[in-house]
Subunit: 247 residues, 3 copies
């Protein structure tokens, strides 16, 4: 471990090989950090909280947590977590591998997140959200959970594999964003959605199949499913599988 | 007082009994913190500013300010202030007891806030806002003030008791959100509103009385006024009073 | 230079006369700060990044960077930069003089910004944005760039001189906000816009010329162009020029 002399690191924390910890960061007792991970300055990992029920914060190997992030104990992340700056993650967040969270995003905890999920800046993931794999969420999107706030009834949203939610959209309590759905910017979506369909508006309506959205690269090819043309950052074996698929 | 050795605390600050101050926090001269209050790490309290006119920052007893908060001098909070992380509060914010402010919220100052007000994450409270008691404001709500920006004319909004503003809504300059009003998600509300009514849309329209919104708990009871069913965190004497009321 | 003893300042950074650096701030190697500049606490300037191509972070003279800001190397700001708190600025941001950035704003880099641009809190400036001079952007506005996310096609937005974008609006990829345009709150704007026109709605439509919006000061004068009545913070020679203009 290489840690800046100003970092405050609990001797009870379990820290893997080749971990780097930046200036003024705080690592509390109940933390386990996988090898080759970089933690930027001003991070606080393992904030104690009675809702965590004493469970550890587990950060997978080969991760990069940028500066000013706050992670509570009681959450678990797979390998290659990458964050922007000033991210807040509450307890009982259970995420897979290769999760990328944008700057200022706020994960309220008590949620599950699959593999290769990417959020851009300033995304709000409400409690009880269930997010699949290969999901994209763009800036200022809010995933809600209370159908008539304030209440004790929590209806988290479900976002299925390969779905894309464009900027400034609200996903209403209990909504299901099906596989491959594209939600246009500044939409407000409730209820169920049909797979591989494009929704927009407030309230959102179905506009049509996502395949009708054309790539603005002069080819006239469909822009969705996006994995037909966008492969940056995904491992070769996954890209190969996508290349072999019929869409 | 228990303060972390890295905390920078002015000897001129007036700090009550049993106050705890976290690592790397900064407490400036012109600050008064009530007893039994907890200040998390990386907080800066009492930022000087000529608009504060030399007035103190006063934090009531039994408060909990979480990490990374920035409070200017010249604001006053009653007892039991509770904040999320990375909250910014400018001068001349005057709030009552039991104010809860969510993570990343931004209070621009020059505003008044009653008792038991709760904001969720990332709420923007513009200058000259006037907020009653028992108000709820959900993520990414913006309270505005300038009818034709940029200008020198400030028309702050008024939010009355028991009103609820759902996520991603904009309250336009000079608007009045009356007692018990519910504003649906992603609405844009101007002008006056009728008490205990439900508004939604952009521009928002009156949908009907809030009592027509039914609780999704199988009872078919009305969801509003919310204090008929939601009582978590309010003191026994207030709940008793609500229980005796006819709605 | 006056720096707090806890500030971590690289001896390779080039720091002008009368610069003040706050507690717990970090100044990396590849940074040049102009004279008379104030850097608040918890700032990190000159974050290294391979996309910066080794270029410096240059902050002009007489600037004020408030607490908790993160600036990458490879960006350049003219004189009198003023920031709120917790601002993030990525590499290859090239801004003129007198830029004011609000609290929590997030500049994604790879963008150009003119003189006297002012953003309020929590503004998101996407990569490849091109912003003129004397532009105003209000809270929670997002400037986008990807017409069918995720993709490799970037169509940054263009915001021309004197344009005003009100709170919670989305500017769609490739859109041009022409000179003097006013975008109403919570709008979603794509395509081209006509100079000195007022647009609102989602999707936004042209409502009319901005001159039809009247100042709410009892005079009945037009509110736009705003420089006919709003002059606070601009230097005398610019105001004099505005006063001589026919609108």
């Amino acid at each position: 471990m290489t840690s800046h002399p100003t970092a405050l690191i609990s001797s009870k924390a379990k820290i893997g090989k080749n971990v780097t910890i930046g200036a003024y960061s705080i690592i509390h007792d109940n933390v386990e950090i996988g090898e080759n991970t970089t933690i930027g300055p001003y991070c606080e990992l393992g904030v104690t909280n009675h809702l965590s029920e004493g469970k550890k914060l587990i950060i997978g190997a080969n991760s990069h947590i940028r500066s000013r992030c706050t992670f509570y104990e009681g959450s678990k992340f797979g390998e290659k977590l990458i964050t922007g700056h000033s991210v807040t993650v509450r307890e009982k967040t259970n995420a897979g591998n290769n999760f990328q969270i944008g700057t200022l995003s706020d994960i309220q905890g008590h949620c599950t997140i699959g593999d290769y999920v990417r959020t851009h800046s300033n995304v709000h993931i409400g409690q009880h959200s269930s997010i699949g794999s290969f999901v994209w969420i763009f800036p200022y999107v809010v995933l809600t959970n209370d159908p008539h706030p304030p209440s004790e009834i929590m209806q988290g949203v479900t976002i299925m594999d390969f779905a894309v939610i464009a900027t400034m959209s609200v996903i209403l309590p209990g909504a299901t964003i099906s596989e491959g759905v594209f939600i246009g910017a500044q939409s407000c979506v409730g209820g169920k959605t049909e797979a591989d369909s494009f929704y927009a508006g407030s309230p959102a309506k179905k506009i049509g199949p996502t395949s009708k959205i054309k790539l603005k690269d002069g080819t006239g090819n469909p822009a969705y499913p996006w994995r037909t043309h966008f492969k940056r950052g995904y491992p070769a074996e996954i890209v190969e599988q996508w290349n072999k698929s019929q869409f």
